[in-house]
Assembly symmetry: C2
């Protein structure tokens, strides 16, 4: 299906599920974007889940956002159990506005839900020529170092910066060895996951995606990755007023209440300290790209470059929709 056609269908579905036209548009853009950048685990595979959560009244399709302006740089947003896409869209826009006025914008959001890819919001900041640091927590997926039970989410660390070129630098890395979304897609399609990324519920290594979902995902770099996941939980959960410490509900499996995910956006003007950020970042990337390369490496890529290339190559192609999801879409439309 072409992206515009898909977007129209998604808008129709979200409006049927009581979102405003504006909010339906935001959510549809985010889902289509996830498919185009090659992150289907954050795309259509979640559509039915969002609609189910609206049906079960654990996502509020008509949220009333409460803004608490703490200073000209700092705002807290209570997202009133909004779908995460809308809360994050409002949050990043507010952080950008604050940074435009004061040099730095800080927005903490509580009572939100899963918002897809952090990089999608960093990209908004880059397009307006701002740096950003973005943190969000997520349902338990990774065991803290030393623990036999999952508690941290895949808790991405996201950083974006303008590059003085049309391809933004966007690092959006979960602190697990593999994205939970990818495991979920593998479980749905019956494919294997790589070795060394997950344990089953008894603590044994597994390549079976379903067993991995019941078990434990491994953090990157042991104690270090575990510490980074903990940092993200504190910044996006403890600090903002959102759920934390393993209390964020799995959106697919737990309909006993809203997720109350927290997000934290820090946005900064690139020319705060220097008047030639563009030439500095260009020079930085150039120096790294011209290093001698490992055998078989054509180009040293910066974070976000591969994603941009995938987006560009996919934008006029048909978006592949697995049969299970096609049938979801049909049911949701009728």
């Amino acid at each position: 299906m072409k992206k515009d056609q898909l977007k129209k269908l998604l808008i129709k579905i979200f409006i049927k599920y009581k979102l405003s036209k504006e909010h339906a548009n935001i959510c549809s853009d985010a889902l289509v974007n996830a498919e185009l950048v090659g992150a289907p685990g954050h795309g259509l595979s979640r559509l039915k889940m969002y609609c189910d959560r609206i049906n079960k009244k654990v996502i509020n399709p008509k949220p009333k956002f409460k803004f608490k302006k703490i200073s000209s740089s700092i705002t807290q947003i209570d997202a009133n159990n909004s779908i995460g896409f809308v809360a994050a869209d409002i949050g990043i826009k507010r952080a950008i506005e604050s940074a435009r006025k004061t040099g730095i914008g800080l927005v903490g959001i509580k009572n939100s839900g899963h918002y897809g890819l952090s990089g999608y919001y960093a990209e908004q900041a880059v397009k307006k020529n701002f740096l950003s640091l973005i943190f969000t927590n997520a349902p338990p997926a990774i065991a803290p170092h030393g623990a036999l039970k999952t508690l941290f989410g895949t808790n991405p660390i996201c950083f974006g910066t303008p590059t003085a070129s049309k391809i933004p630098f966007i690092l959006d890395t979960s602190v697990s060895m593999i994205n939970r979304g990818k495991i979920r897609v593998a479980a749905r399609t019956g494919s294997k996951i790589p070795e060394g990324v997950a344990l089953d519920k008894n603590g044994n290594p597994t390549t079976d995606a379903k067993k991995a979902l019941e078990g434990v995902q491994l953090p990157i770099a042991g104690f270090r990755g575990s510490g980074l996941a903990w940092m993200v939980d504190i910044l996006s959960g403890v600090f903002t007023g959102g759920n934390h410490g393993g209390k964020v509900k799995d959106p697919f499996d737990d309909f006993s209440g809203p997720q109350n995910i927290g997000h934290l956006f820090i946005v900064m003007k690139p020319n705060l300290f220097v008047n030639n950020f563009n030439s500095r970042i260009k020079e930085n990337i150039k120096r790294i790209k011209r290093l001698p390369k490992l055998k078989g490496v054509k180009e040293i890529m910066y974070p976000g470059q591969n994603k941009f290339n995938r987006y560009k190559s996919n934008i006029n192609k048909e978006i592949f929709i697995p049969d299970a999801i096609k049938s979801d879409i049909e049911k949701l439309l009728n």
Copy 2:
């Protein structure tokens, strides 16, 4: 040697090398602290290097700091090639003051040098009851993903938060598999380094510390760790006005000019968004600590806890000083 005696000697040396009494005190505290927390790679093993750099006029012992106040939250500091400890001490204090007034403090420092452990400055913020994110770059040690040559420093990511207990949560993790300081200590003492943390100059795995110093340190988690190192280089170098993209000089080997390291401090009030941060962070840590544990694990530790325990157990003990460093100290005193 007991810590107070050691500190007196260090102050004497730094004053002999033309630092003010106040600056000598700051530097000596930082070096003694590194020894006490069990990070000798950031301690006495660097003393002679600092003095040599002062002698060669690539560290300025009498820096004139230039402050550029960008807003009530944001300051840039030109450290005038100060020793890093002093620049960082001034920087974190300024960031704390800004955060006290406005909720958030952002300080970018350029023309600084190696400042030891990021966690040491995060600890200052925690003691005043603030959260902090701290970034600094460093001389080339890690190869970017896909490259055959080092360019990124070990570029630590540091995050600190009050915990409502006397033991702060301080994550201070380099994005290399091992700290360069540890390899340096191993090279000086002739001990081996672990497997899988470094390659020699030809790209072959090595456990020989000297060969590792000539070669490449491996980042954590491949492309992810490389991306995190790149992020730190941009935030602390490109953004602040410091050197970046592999231009930070190795302080031990390159006396052709000052290092011009950049640092970035972000400090935030814990109660910006919630009025019960203390009870929330306490609950967060409690939930994680009471998870079922892996075999052999007595307690799930949060970042900073081990370091604090080492500090506490070392504080009244003799600080072990290897012979090579004893002889450095004697020469520097005479």
